[in-house]
Symmetry: none
Subunit: 422 residues, 2 copies
């Protein structure tokens, strides 16, 4: 099965936005056992979009476009593709009703221009948009005038905003792909999420013991993200599920201490789940991470049952007045020190009336470092029912990466501590 992805948008070509669709959609197709064979980005101009779709249809079984379905004058994908394929657009009252209800439910007037979003090319499937207005569209191009022998292709048009595109792909496009392009033989895919070990070390650790499986055709992949490495097993054929299960068993035996979850787990989702399971609560005292940890934890539905309070105590005065850090500790050891981290964690646990507390205090940079405490220095403490532990790291990265990695280290340490006390 050949798949081509066409991203439309002049803002892409001007470098104003990052093309996150490519990575997300390519990863989703990989999870379905399919590989995207080409990706193209073109501006919102009629000829560019038409040419790219025509070329895609001349080569691929499935062409997916993103963007250009909205209500403004530069949203022309729907009209141009219908015109190119000779399909008449008709007004779909059900789609219009859905668009109206989207605005009415938010107490807003329905803009006149959104009417174009209810136009549907004849024969197209409507892919409902549960998080926005413009629906997606799927067309079986058969016969396909651009492909050798008129061989059929599917053309799927998705809206540009990620929060609309992503659920639409999962609920509408993935089932269509599985139905229209069934995989021959078996397929299994599994991802283990790890933290605290680099990509090359992880590869050294597991690639030898997994060699008999990779030699027999299993794909072993590593994907390094900030502070995390995904280990991914993909197998095809009738034994696929057993092969992947064996790879997982071996890897868990070798790398248990680094594995925190599977598939789409995040450190924060696992932490919320573990604390909720125990009926325990958390407080946070963040200096250098500036609310980053609280923000990630509260992205997890159900976090309110677990997170009692978070304190972003950037200023020293706030460390004293809010968390009760003794002024003498700040004076004698400085804000970035183990005693301050300990006092912050214990203060957050007490003031937040929580079972557990995490504190972080460090120097995010780009300025503020000294010779003994360089930019990137972080002191952590974790206070719990069984006492307080402290540790430190030097995370010399740009500001946002610093915050992310520091949060990874703090959350994974608490997870390990929870595993140890249970």
């Amino acid at each position: 099965m050949t798949i081509e992805l066409i991203n439309t948008g002049s803002e892409l070509m001007l470098g104003r936005v990052l093309n996150t669709h490519q990575q997300w959609l390519c990863a989703r197709f990989a999870d379905l056992g399919r590989t995207v064979t080409r990706q193209v980005a073109v501006p919102d101009g009629s000829a560019d979009i038409e040419n790219a779709v025509r070329e895609g249809l001349s080569r691929a079984d499935l062409v997916v476009t993103t963007g250009g379905l909205g209500p403004t004058c530069d949203d022309i994908t729907r009209e141009r593709i219908a015109g190119m394929l000779g399909l008449v657009l008709h007004h779909d009252p059900a789609v219009e009703a859905q668009i109206r209800s989207y605005f009415v439910g938010r107490g807003r007037p329905v803009p006149e221009r959104t009417k174009v979003e209810a136009m549907v090319p004849e024969g197209a499937l409507v892919l409902p948009n549960r998080h926005g207005t413009a629906p997606g569209l799927a067309i079986r191009v058969d016969p396909n005038p651009f492909r050798e022998g008129g061989r059929a292709s599917w053309l799927v048009m998705l809206p540009g905003p990620p929060r609309e595109l992503r659920p639409m792909f999962d609920t509408e496009v993935a089932p269509l792909v599985l139905r229209e392009f069934p995989l021959e033989g078996g397929f299994a895919c599994r991802t283990l999420k790890t933290t605290g070990i680099g990509e090359s070390y992880m590869e050294e650790l597991v690639s030898g013991p997994l060699r008999h499986l990779t030699d027999a055709g299993m794909d072993l992949g590593f994907c390094a993200r900030v502070g995390e490495v995904d280990v991914r097993f993909v197998a095809r054929g009738p034994a696929a599920a057993a092969v992947v299960a064996e790879a997982e068993r071996i890897t868990r035996g070798l790398a248990a201490q680094y594995i925190f979850g599977e598939q789409d787990d995040t450190l924060e989702s696992v932490l919320v789940r573990e604390l909720a399971r125990r009926g325990q609560t958390l407080a946070l005292a963040e200096s250098c991470t500036g609310g980053h940890i609280a923000n990630r934890i509260t992205n997890v539905p159900g976090a309110s049952a677990v997170l009692n309070a978070g304190f972003v105590t950037y200023a020293n005065a706030a460390k004293v007045s809010v968390l009760g850090v003794p002024e003498s500790v700040l004076r004698d050891h400085g804000a970035v020190s183990e005693p301050t981290a300990r006092a912050m964690a214990e203060g957050a646990r007490r003031v937040g009336a929580a079972d557990w507390a995490i504190s972080v205090t460090g120097i995010a940079g780009p300025s503020g470092g000294t010779s003994t405490k360089p930019v990137g220095t972080v002191h952590f403490a974790i206070a719990g029912p069984d006492g307080t532990e402290a540790f430190h790291q030097v995370n010399a990265f740009d500001r946002e990466t610093f915050k992310y990695i520091t949060a990874q280290q703090a959350m994974s340490r608490l997870l390990r501590r929870l595993a140890a006390v249970c």
Copy 2:
């Protein structure tokens, strides 16, 4: 001038990495007054790369490839392109000396495989790599066998790692572009950042009054992000700067209340800048946004001079004990109410000893809504030297979008308040 960008790499097609080259290179070309007309990503397979380069050369004045110049077995761009163009590769002793010195300077042995990086197609310009080993290559393809009439194109091959590619573009490729493709006439581009108005409403507001400019050839573009809409003007020709200035003046006159910045400004960067300019400080009391506002503000270098403290008071007990919200207010009006929002903001301002405080309390969902307070309900308050104001919104979105939009509304309201008092 037409420019096509070809990114090679199987990891791109599997969704393992984000294609940051596209955004970076497109933005750099835009800064030079040029627009990339097409971007293509293909896997590390010989036929794919050759086909993509051939198609690019058939259309574009400049084709830029990224990746595939390194020493490993899947780095085939140099060989395949030389073969396709019928150019003999010769060993360049100067390049080899530079590669050797890279390793020797780091006290490492010179790997045997790096020798291929010293192979240069005949007639190619070598673009020195000051941050890695493989040099870039630039070839004037003249005559160009793939283009109508044999019209010449430039082909530039850049290494994949961003820390090698980026400085090489700035020191080698940008001067080549300016020299080989001088701009005829003028060029001007300007982006206004707005919030608090949807894309279609913005278009309704400004497209009529700007029609005389767009009819005369100015590009008017809208880019909707979560809670923001960019309005972009692009003009060419001798009057470009005046045209864009006129478009900006008209738009500012019509949409002043929605415009918070320009170019790469964010609400948080403008807020930090404005508070720093006034020598004033901020405290935050976040319930439903869970630290999201604090996290974004502390992403801005220099935020520590402005943000005194942030409080994530998810639990009612924390609202009482940390911020001093009266229990009677919570009992009589509930946690998601105007009186609670006011008490939170005033408490945060007092406890954080800040000039200004923002509070948000709402129902992020997916659960927790009632018939009178549906999911998405948010109450805000802003406490300042001149008193406290409150407002509310219904933001019925998924959890992360809810937090983002709620933060946009809170920060933009404070910005407007600052503008009013100053």
